[in-house]
Point group: C2
């Protein structure tokens, strides 16, 4: 939830690293995970079958917080460095999280 009581915003996505670049890309994706306002959960994972694929699952207190995160200096810098390591994007599913465990929702 967010102050206005609106719905949370979730994202499930996959991306494919350039061959041999997954580890470097994972490191970049993990740089900002603890610094983004409104981010309740941000999980970066490897695909166990495909050595180039990364899965990212996110939960935000609102779509607005997610959008705003893309303008954060640290995030913009990471995106710039990540781009050349990305061969392509796969799944991009938006969800409406209702609840769960591990959502760092401020009291």
């Amino acid at each position: 939830r967010n102050p206005e009581g609106g719905p949370m915003y979730g994202l499930i996505g996959s991306l494919k690293a350039q061959a041999g670049q997954r580890e470097a890309l994972l490191a970049i994706l993990l740089e900002n995970v603890d610094t983004m306002p409104g981010c309740h959960s941000y999980v970066v994972a490897e695909d166990p079958e495909d050595p180039d694929v990364i899965w990212v699952t996110e939960v935000w207190d609102s779509a607005g917080s997610h959008r705003a995160s893309l303008a954060l200096p640290g995030v913009r810098d990471a995106i710039t460095r990540a781009k050349p390591l990305i061969a392509g994007f796969g799944q991009h599913t938006e969800t409406r999280p209702i609840g769960g465990h591990g959502l760092t929702i401020p009291a």
Copy 2:
């Protein structure tokens, strides 16, 4: 990570509720989220486009912990009550989480 230092285990899945039963199914899915040993993250979400679809994204300290959770009395009971409300299963993707925000990893 888990005591043996093995990889974390992640799941991204979707399921379709019987027409009109999503809310009841969501409630059942949310019952045990805070009681499952080794569960670092468990997010239950609605699909904003399809009124019957639910997305579940999970992170466990190991595949073993996830497997063991299916035998917990509370979880077994929830599964029994959930089954008649489920019309079908969609995505079932296993991942290897590397890190992120909101993973309740014990210090």
